[in-house]
């Protein structure tokens, strides 16, 4: 079949099974937009800003495990998309970004809306391509999806000069492609598995610490089997929440800067850290001086470069988390008689003592809405079943701490890059993927204003998201750091001149609510979630000076957590 390059682009997406492309048109992409107009297999979703397109595609990817797809024009279209590409890159999210480029003969001449898309995106993509010929469009798109979705996933950008999208070629979508230089995923070696299980069975103070890799590998069932067979404590990173059920007695909650006291203390005092699909990021480890002084480290990851990057490991297994866990489980069942729960009895006693401090404790109030209460009520009202996206700040931490997750793909946040503005467009992507599910965006009055224009997209496509705005009239997380580290000099962290969010929501055609009293929180949430076909923007006026606890402050270690003043404190402090 002879087609234009533009039709080949769209047909290739169809062949990849893409249902939605999030994008924004412009000169260099117009042939491709015309090709979209000629067909109805792949739906193009018009966002209001290219950052929104990338976050929406990202949200869809996180909620489904399928790659998200974005289409932008050259120049400012690409630069606007960079934040979202980098967000996906830092969290290893599969995404394919197609960008229009100026015509080939104009490249390099500072043409109108020319930007070196390959160059500007290079540090924040897994790979990128500049297509040179119309014949290369289909194979390059095939490669882009392959690279984005295999190994450690990530965003891939494909830059397409405009003249090529008008050229004509035979359309053949390749079944297979070979990329000899693209590293295959290593297969775990049986000897590594045997050695790992030996170490696991001999541990007296073990902890299983897992991250986004378990979510990406769809390894939650294997993880649960592994942890339960051993009866070992398990903690998840911010990116890994949901992989282990929040209410299981073996679960210690999230670890890291705002993780629970018991999870961080257990990391510090462990004699064996079993790290799976996690990368010992600085928000997880605190200072590396004195990190887990007695621990051996067993590290499982698909990416060899994370092994020994931040923490020296004793045993490493490179491979897909699901494959490795399956092999570990098989070896464990072979050695079932050697599992000795008595070995860890004293360890559990110690952990339960730490747990007894109830480090997420906060003071309830009858007069002012505590942000934690809103999240707890959100959990109750949605039965713990909602997809929850968040922005970045205190509200993100409250959501992670207080919305108990029991499934992967349901907690969707920008952990690596920490991108304010992520929450609302990400929720749109989730909603496209799961039309009947409850989707809540937990945000702050600072973050929501970074991509608020997407309320119009929600109106155009009937996306009944529930926006939970925890409005403390501060860039709360910044204010908290200024309170702790800058002697309460609140430089530029006060959000003055806020819009009337209720009216704003209404102006976009949605329902707005303002909630000011603790007693009204639950009722308002019930009312909002009962409006199945409306986007409801819920503006919760929350305690202005509430802080996120517990906390590992800068330069401190796992065992030096700051707990909420007025609450239970560890002995000797």
């Amino acid at each position: 079949m002879q087609l234009t390059g533009a039709d080949i682009v769209v047909k290739s997406l169809e062949q990849e099974g893409v249902k939605y492309v999030f994008g924004y048109p412009g000169g260099a992409a117009l042939h491709i937009y015309d090709a979209f107009h000629r067909q109805d297999k792949v739906e193009h979703i018009l966002v209001r800003h290219e950052q929104g397109a990338t976050h929406a595609a990202d949200g869809l990817a996180r909620a489904t495990g399928e790659p998200g797809v974005v289409l932008v024009t050259s120049g400012p279209g690409v630069t606007n998309a960079i934040t979202g590409i980098a967000t996906a890159y830092m969290d290893s999210i599969p995404m394919v970004v197609l960008s229009g480029q100026v015509m080939k003969p104009l490249i390099g001449y500072d043409a109108f809306q020319e930007i070196d898309a390959v160059g500007i995106s290079r540090p924040c993509v897994k790979h990128n391509f500049l297509i040179q010929n119309v014949e290369d469009i289909a194979p390059t798109i095939k490669k882009a999806f392959h690279v984005a979705t295999t190994g450690r996933p990530g965003p891939v950008l494909v830059d397409i000069p405009k003249d090529i999208t008008a050229d004509i070629a035979e359309f053949i979508y390749p079944e297979d492609i070979t990329m000899r230089a693209y590293p295959p995923v290593a297969s775990p070696q049986p000897s590594e598995i045997v050695a790992a299980v030996e170490a696991i069975l001999n541990a007296k103070r073990p902890i299983v610490y897992t991250g986004g890799g378990v979510v990406l590998a769809e390894a939650q069932e294997q993880l649960r089997q592994f942890v339960r067979a051993l009866g070992y404590p398990c903690t998840n990173t911010l990116m890994g929440l949901g992989a282990y059920p929040h209410d299981d007695p073996l679960f210690l909650g999230m670890l890291g800067m705002h993780g629970t006291y018991e999870a961080n203390m257990a990391m510090h005092d462990a004699d064996l850290i079993i790290a799976i699909g996690a990368r010992f990021d600085d928000r997880i480890t605190g200072t590396l001086d004195g990190f887990a002084p007695d621990a051996k480290v067993l590290h499982v990851d698909i990416d060899p470069s994370v092994i020994d990057k931040n923490i020296k490991t004793d045993i490493s297994i490179i491979g897909d988390a699901r494959d490795v866990l399956t092999m570990l489980n098989r070896e464990l069942s072979r050695r079932a008689d050697d599992i000795n729960q008595q070995l860890t009895e004293a360890w559990w006693q110690q952990i339960n003592q730490w747990r007894g401090l109830n480090s997420l404790w906060y003071e309830h109030s009858d007069t002012v809405i505590k942000p934690q209460l809103v999240v707890q009520k959100l959990f109750e009202v949605t039965g713990g079943e909602a997809y929850v996206t968040s922005d970045v700040g205190q509200h993100q931490m409250y959501a992670a701490q207080f919305y108990g997750f029991s499934d992967t793909h349901k907690w969707i946040n920008s952990g690596g890059l920490g991108t304010m503005g992520f929450g609302l467009p990400a929720a749109m992507g989730v909603k496209f993927a799961h039309r009947d599910a409850d989707v809540a965006c937990v945000t702050g009055e600072g973050s929501i204003q970074m991509c608020i224009q997407e309320l119009a997209t929600c109106q155009q496509y009937d996306l009944p998201i529930k926006v939970i705005n925890l409005n403390n009239r501060y860039l709360g997380m910044v204010r908290q750091w200024q309170e702790f580290n800058y002697d309460k000099r609140y430089s530029n962290s006060y959000m003055d001149s806020l819009p009337d969010f209720v009216k704003l929501a209404e102006a976009y055609g949605h329902v707005g609510m303002m909630i000011e009293k603790p007693a009204d929180v639950e009722g308002a949430l019930r009312e909002a979630f009962a409006m199945k076909d409306r986007l409801v923007f819920m503006d919760f006026i929350t305690d202005q000076t509430e802080n996120v606890y517990p906390m590992i402050e800068a330069g401190k270690g796992h065992h030096e957590m700051r707990l909420r003043p007025g609450g239970p404190q560890p002995e000797g402090v």
């Binding site: 160059g119 290079r122 540090p123 500049l130 990329m179 000899r180 060899p304 470069s305």
Partner: protein
């Protein structure tokens, strides 16, 4: 310690900038970098010399290995290996000291490849160490400019750098 890492790279546009970008983004040093096509025109061979402790070199190799265009790589310095660098030195012509220069060039096994009334150009191929020594020995002459190629090399064992065919 100094390491020499040889890389086979897909001969694609932008591939070199990925390697260079990786070094600058992650704060690794590049002391020298050479690149040219191989007998297989679809592959370029890069030679990077860098300095770092074992942990840093391990990270450099792993990060390079992740690049989608990198087909194979090898730290040749951990094996028996040969390394060569070419240097061209342009000197102000001076007939008085010419005999001294001739002796020096002979001692280093170099060559005067261009001689005229105003300037001489000498060439030497050898290890980077030898090139350093030559430049030191030339202090008494008036150097106009120096062009070093950067080091290239290969193992002298059976362990060749080749692309594994899938």
């Amino acid at each position: 310690m100094r390491h020499i890492i040889s890389v086979l790279l897909e001969n694609e546009s932008g591939a070199l900038s990925r390697v260079a970008g990786l070094f600058s983004a992650r704060g690794y040093n590049i002391d020298t970098l050479t690149v040219a096509p191989t007998n297989d025109p679809t592959l370029s061979r890069l030679t990077i010399s860098t300095v770092g402790d074992d942990r840093k070199i391990d990270q450099i190799e792993k990060q390079l290995g992740k690049l989608v265009d990198v087909a194979a790589l090898q730290d040749i310095t951990i094996n028996r290996h040969l390394e060569r660098e070419v240097v061209l030195v342009k000197l102000l012509a001076n007939q008085q000291s010419k005999p001294k220069l001739d002796r020096l060039v002979a001692a280093f096994n170099g060559k005067l490849i261009d001689i005229n009334d105003t300037q001489f150009i000498l060439e030497l191929s050898g290890s980077s160490e030898k090139v350093d020594e030559l430049l030191k020995a030339l202090v008494d002459f008036e150097i106009i400019e120096v062009a070093r190629s950067g080091v290239t090399g290969m193992t002298s064992t059976e362990r060749a750098l080749t692309v594994e065919q899938p």
